[in-house]
Amino acid sequence: MADATAAERDAPVLVLEGVHKSYGTTVITEVLRGIDLRVIPGELTAVTGPSGSGKSTMLNLIGLLDRPTSGKVFVAGEEATALDDAGLTRLRGTKIGFVFQFHHLLPGFSALENVMMPMTIASGRPRPWMHDKALALLDKVGLADRADARPSELSGGQQQRVAIARALAMDAPLILADEPTGNLDTETAGRVFELMRELNRTTRQAFVVVTHDPRLAERCDRVVRVVDGRIVSDGPPNGAAHG
């Protein structure tokens, strides 16, 4: 019984099996050439690699925003590649949290409403309990006092912290972050990353972070380096990020 619980706990939240992705019809460009990856709960994984190596494509496939040309993607035990568009949308909304490079908050909504949005989408309408949960999340990222501010009234670092709170709103087992600090100064970037690290430790949500920044990659549990659409190294930091 205890083994089963442990097995369940350590069941991978993300599995990529032989994932290929090509673009074009006449001239075919193969961006990913057979990616195999497993991410377990609580893992903070950095995906690094030079520009054009296929990192973003990989993140889009993991985030179910795109479909692989071949291979399989499993998220929280469910085979995403077998789902239709509505199934993908549901899985994306409930099992994955996103943090984008340019925060991508909704400008017409306050910080609090932005954090409430994934819950509002899942529930079909805003409900009173969401308000409390969103406020608690903003408190966790140190922005409870700016709950009513519009994104345009917040600094870059604050916006990214709101985006992190929003990604955590659904208690999704997998959080994807695309260059989450790419748009911030070094000091703010460090603080934002530290916040993600801390949340990852306390919530045991798996984080997959695409980054160009070797110093951030060094601070992750695991660094996956992608070059020319293939994983060339995968392991603990120790210089792996530098390839």
Binding site: S56, N60, G63, L65, D66, D85, A86, T89, R90, R92, G93, T94, F98, F100, H104, L106, P107, G108, F109, M117, P118, T120, I121, A122, G124, R125, P126, R166
Partner: protein, 406 residues
């Protein structure tokens, strides 16, 4: 509030100036539609009211006499192919009491009035005028023509040797209430009547030509004892008059002419007026639709990134579609609310300009609830339909591309 409403309202609030302009466009469209409809409706109503003020909705009369060509009995060969037209004389409806009861019971009929009418001369002193003698049942006649309300002098009492005439005829003959008038038929029969009252039915020709007397007097003068020459009918729906007339004709075997057939030219005029007004309204609706659609298409482009984020967070394509359809619908609804107010204001203002010499409005420009409902339905439907294209475009957006390019 459902997600789609919540996001749609926020999107509209976010693009405040765009929303304001697009709502103003829709409002102007609705105002023009409402005003034009109210104006044309009022004009038509006034023309019809004027026409029907001196006409029955349906007149039932005997079948026109016509000579038939003579044919052989064995083969269908014409023996006397030349047929002279028959001169029409004043004839009675056979069994008119029974016919009147039948007509009265027919669906849609409100009231009936038998009349005996024929041409006579009205004379007083040297003055002689050709007029139409109308022998009537005063009560029934008053249910069809607004004669009591239009009585200008004296009393409405066309009984015995009294008659009621129009103001124009009174002026032509130089008579007033209490004076005597001689009415003579061409073949010589004549009688003297006392003018009991003068009416003004708003139609100069009627005021100059009609002489109302009792049925019995008219029957005697026109040599139609016990008979009536026509039955006037009013119906509950004036625009169904032709249909009802057809059914009355089939029911009685007599000729039944509706006011619409008698005034075919007026009807053509009204229809043309209504068609041109409808055409203008169609173009107004098209212009509004294109305005809403273009603003929403721009909005889809501007909000591409936001749509991508919403999709990434689990919003379905259907919800994105509904968000944009709702924006179109809300714009249409807001436009109709503002537009109805504007249109009503315009109507009141116009009605205050188009007044007769005595200060009364020339014609009613009234805005009915049905018209408001129609404008609102058209505006909201236009909004929704104009939003279809932008909404489908938004729903088809690839979230990854939208986020990257947004």
């Amino acid at each position: 509030m459902p997600l789609e409403w919540y996001v749609a309202i926020r999107f509209l609030r976010e693009g405040r100036m765009q929303t304001l302009l697009i709502v103003a466009g829709a409002a102007i469209g609705v105002a023009v539609m409402l005003f034009l409809s109210a104006l044309m409706g009022g004009l038509a109503e006034s023309l019809i009211a004027q026409t029907l003020g001196t006409q029955a909705h349906i007149v039932v009369r005997p079948v026109v006499e016509a000579a038939r060509p003579q044919r052989t009995s064995t083969r269908d060969t014409l023996v006397m192919p030349r047929v002279e037209r028959t001169a029409q004389r004043v004839r009675s409806i056979v069994g008119w009491q029974q016919v009147m009861r039948d007509v009265e019971r027919a669906p849609g009929v409100v009231s009936v009035s038998p009349t005996v009418s024929g041409p006579v001369f009205a004379q007083r002193g040297d003055a002689s005028k050709s007029v139409i003698l109308l022998g009537i049942d005063p009560e029934r006649f008053a249910r069809i023509y607004p004669i009591r309300a239009r009585l200008r002098e004296g009393v409405y009492r066309p009984v015995g040797d009294s008659c009621v005439i129009g103001t124009e005829l009174a002026s032509d003959l130089g008579v007033s209430v209490g004076d005597k008038v001689r009415l003579s038929v061409v073949d010589g029969a004549s009688d003297v009547f006392t003018v009991a009252g003068l009416f003004d039915l708003g139609n100069r020709e009627v005021n100059r030509r009609w002489v109302l007397v009792s049925m019995r007097s008219a029957q005697t003068l026109l040599d139609l004892v016990g008979g009536v020459s026509a039955i006037d009918v009013t119906v509950d729906d004036v625009f169904a008059a032709t249909t009802i007339a057809e059914s009355l004709s089939a029911r009685t075997g007599l000729v039944a002419d509706s006011w619409m057939q008698t005034n075919a030219q007026l009807m053509v005029g009204l229809r043309s007026q209504s068609s041109s007004s409808n055409l203008i309204q169609v173009f107004v609706v098209l212009a509004v639709a294109m305005g809403i659609a273009s603003v929403l298409i721009v909005s889809v482009v501007q909000k591409g990134k936001e749509i991508g984020i919403l999709r990434a967070m689990g919003t379905s394509r259907r919800s994105v579609l509904v968000v944009f359809l709702l924006q179109g619908g809300i714009v249409g609804l807001l436009g109709s609310i503002v537009g109805v107010g504007l249109g009503m204001g315009l109507s009141v203002f116009f009605a205050s300009l188009a007044v007769a010499a005595d200060g009364s409005p020339l014609f009613p420009v009234h805005v009915s609830l049905a018209l408001i409902a129609r404008c609102t339905v058209v505006a909201v439907s236009t909004g929704l339909l104009s939003a279809v294209l932008p909404a489908r475009r938004a729903a088809r957006l690839d979230p990854a591309v939208a986020i990257r390019n947004g």
